[in-house]
Amino acid sequence: MLVFTRRKHETIMIGDGIEVRVLRVGREGVRIGIVAPPEVPVHRQEIYNQIRDANRSAADTAHPMAAIAEQLRRHS
């Protein structure tokens, strides 16, 4: 892992198009701004992980489709 020391308003460039800037340094955390091209996804890792876990739970459910479809029809 590359490690840098950066102060407030200082920036790291990744490739040509990605800029990571330190906006504020506080006791509870560091506020970071990211400028990236539209084709580069940027996510908080914990949100990505939550969605990954939800997808794994959703995949290949063992329950009968008819029972789930019935729950949906009752709900709507």
Binding site: I47, A54, N55, R56
Partner: protein
């Protein structure tokens, strides 16, 4: 495509799991350029209607037995559902505007058989380009598991 290629019959693609056992036209394949979180290497899916199981549909990996997801129009679950697609997601779907896009939410069933719907990170499909992706805006009011019957 050249004339010679056009004359070759398109090879049907296999879709096989306990939810579907069929073959599909290559023209029906949706390309998920980044896969899905947890299934990053699976890029090709088809969306299947299943007789008598409306409003459920199946989002199925092509030429693989997994993953396979039960999906539903989020407005079916929450009629007020509204989602602002980011320019970046629209760009990656190759969509000029958001009007023709198809929205789907994954169904998650717990061990007790209670169904929840992922309204937090919906799947968006652009039928014009046959592209799809799962979107996950950083600010979102909808839950990852919206339990049916609420």
């Amino acid at each position: 495509m050249t004339m010679a290629q056009a004359n070759v019959p398109a090879e049907r693609l296999q879709v096989h799991s306990r939810f579907a056992d069929t073959d599909v036209n290559p023209g029906d394949v949706l390309m998920f350029a980044e896969g899905l979180p947890g299934y990053e290497s699976t890029r090709q899916f088809v969306l299947l209607d299943v007789p008598d199981q409306a409003p459920l549909k199946v989002l199925h990996a092509v030429n693989a037995t997994e993953p396979c997801f039960l999906v539903v129009d989020p407005k079916c679950v929450l009629p007020t559902y509204r989602y602002e697609l980011s320019d970046s997601d629209r760009h990656r779907l190759g969509a000029k505007d958001a009007s023709a896009l198809l929205w789907l939410a994954m169904v998650i069933v717990d061990d007790a058989g209670t169904a929840a719907v992922n309204l937090r990170a919906p799947i968006v499909i652009n039928p014009e380009r046959m592209t799809g992706r799962q979107v996950m805006p950083n600010a979102c009011v909808y839950p990852l598991r919206y339990i049916l019957g609420q």
